[in-house]
Symmetry: C2
Subunit: 343 residues, 2 copies
């Protein structure tokens, strides 16, 4: 494994995801994740620039910052990059009037937007607002348009609340895409434009920045494709391998080449091998099974069975593998590992 | 255009889709489509075998047949192939206990099925039942399973009620597939097993049967891939080209080769050409844009702009093209064309 000094060389700015990294939402607003308040304070005391880069689309930035401050975080509205304000900018630039399928909590962000006689649809994490009636209305608006345009604020699959996993906006985006035979425009992570605006607001180049998040596609994959470094925390939606899974435990990992056959051989055979390994490739379209046509350095995740990463591999020569049972379990532990390298 | 005599040679059985072909659902149960009651009666008087093959999953077969009889159709429960009974058979064969996300109207079909401690999820056209809460529950059940299994009763995009277009089960299937990173098993059209059981119940081989429906993917594509002939009606969810679309009107069509370039050249250039033509290929995964890799006889639809077929092409040497403005508008007109050929 490359030393942290090498891995963080030249980093001047840190982008922090919020939900699942700083706090888990839920009853009463949610709860801070252990160690995260102190970690943010420590980052802010360092010479690193810090910005918050979220796909939160249920709350306005004002409400989100209010909640975080009540949980003890040192954060202000001007430090947050969020998809609703970014969407408003695009709507104005392109003269679009949206039909909104969004949570009431974020509706105030669209106060200055003309929503009469809509010529596009904007969906966000609407939670209970994703009723059949509301989805059907958005579908009918799109089907009436000559050139249907659908914006989705993020495309996350799900997120974690204190009560359990919750469907995010992504599945509903896919539903409307399929129903109408169209492709949505994603505003938010992993869209390159979104990272670009966050970095501009921080005054840092992509190669000088690291993204810290819990989403392998939205946070890690998106940031890496934009030329940033990225770090996946093991809190929030991250799911650790289940101990009751059949088959021998996964082998201990160190450093591997990018070669698919080699990875498969390692995991599928030998006394340390485990069964049912799929190797996924983090492509611009999201995670998909790594086929023979895939090549080149990518961010990879190998799953044993369903949705439980055994390891992540970063796109550097001499990939860095983190094996489930040996990796740190939350991001303040990650930061402790990083600690000596923070300028 | 091939003569109807050639096209229907050897046909011994007719499979009829129900919604959008015999009637449009809606307030008060819906309304029969003009000419359809008489057409069914005429088919039944002929020497052809007739069976009803539906993806209806909001109603039990008993309720559906009751409604059709009230609308004047000559139909009995034993003549209907529907996905809920087919799903029950599969669940029993594989020892699966479903969590049901279905409409109350079809729940009675699952009366004999053990739904305790679920180890799979079955979704059907649940209508208003597709609330966020119900979708999230189905999602959570799947995420708790070691090997998540999702059955979808059909995968239609939408259907038409008298009040307008309505989202079908397909978009919600896609949502759960994306959220969980899995692929659903479709029970109903266009699944080959479903056509197989309908044909077995009718005692007719695939090459002796014709499917009549309004869905280019579920009815026409599915039947053709199973070796049957198929006919798309222009009622139900079928949408005719809009007169206000910019660009010159589509050219009159006769018979074409399968060659994509030739089709594109015809539609995109020349004094009769029209703009914005996409050529779609009806593959097992549904309609997708016809790429250079596509070859061989397929059922094709060319769209000018969005979702409005200009023509359909059937997979026979010397394709049969139906041009929007000249084609018959409902299936009783189709049957009148077929009329002289009915034995």
């Amino acid at each position: 494994m490359a030393a942290w000094g090498e891995r963080l060389a030249g980093v001047r700015g840190v982008l922090l995801d919020i939900s699942g990294v700083l706090y888990d939402g839920g009853e009463g607003g949610g709860a801070a994740i252990a160690g995260s308040v102190e970690a943010v304070a420590r980052l802010k005391r360092s010479r690193l620039k810090v910005r918050f880069c979220t796909n939160e689309s249920q709350k306005s930035r004002a409400d989100l910052v209010g909640l975080l401050r009540r949980l003890g975080f040192d954060v202000s509205e001007g430090e947050v990059t969020a998809p609703a304000p970014a969407a408003c900018l695009i709507l104005k630039q392109r003269g679009l009037r949206p039909h909104l399928l969004v949570h009431d909590g974020v509706r105030s962000e669209f106060d200055q937007i003309d929503t009469s006689n809509p010529n596009c649809v904007v969906i966000a994490d609407a939670g209970e607002g994703f009723s059949y009636q509301n989805m059907n209305k958005a579908f009918q608006v799109l089907m009436e348009l000559e050139n249907p345009v659908l914006f989705s604020l993020g495309k996350g699959r799900y997120y974690k609340e204190t009560s359990g996993l919750m469907l995010d906006v992504g599945p509903y985006m896919k539903a409307l895409e399929y129903a109408c035979g169209i492709e949505a425009e994603v505003v938010g992570k992993p869209s390159p434009e979104f990272f670009k605006s966050a970095l501009q607001e921080m005054g840092v180049e992509a190669h000088e920045a690291i993204m810290i998040g819990d989403d392998i596609v939205g946070d890690v994959g998106g940031a890496q494709r934009y030329g940033m470094r990225a770090l996946q925390v093991r809190t929030g939606k991250f799911r650790v391998p289940r101990p009751h899974r059949p088959g021998p435990p996964p082998a201990a990992c160190s450093v591997y080449s990018t070669r698919r056959q080699q990875l498969e051989r390692h995991f599928l055979s030998g006394p340390e091998g485990c069964r049912n390994v799929n190797i996924f490739c983090n492509s611009p379209e999201g995670l998909h099974r790594w086929g023979a046509e895939t090549s080149g350095p990518e961010c990879l995740v190998a799953y044993s069975g369903h949705s439980s990463p055994l390891l992540t591999i970063e796109p550097t020569p001499g990939f860095w593998l983190r094996q489930g049972s040996r990796a740190p379990r939350n991001w303040s532990q990650e930061l402790q590992l990083m600690g000596p390298q923070i300028p």
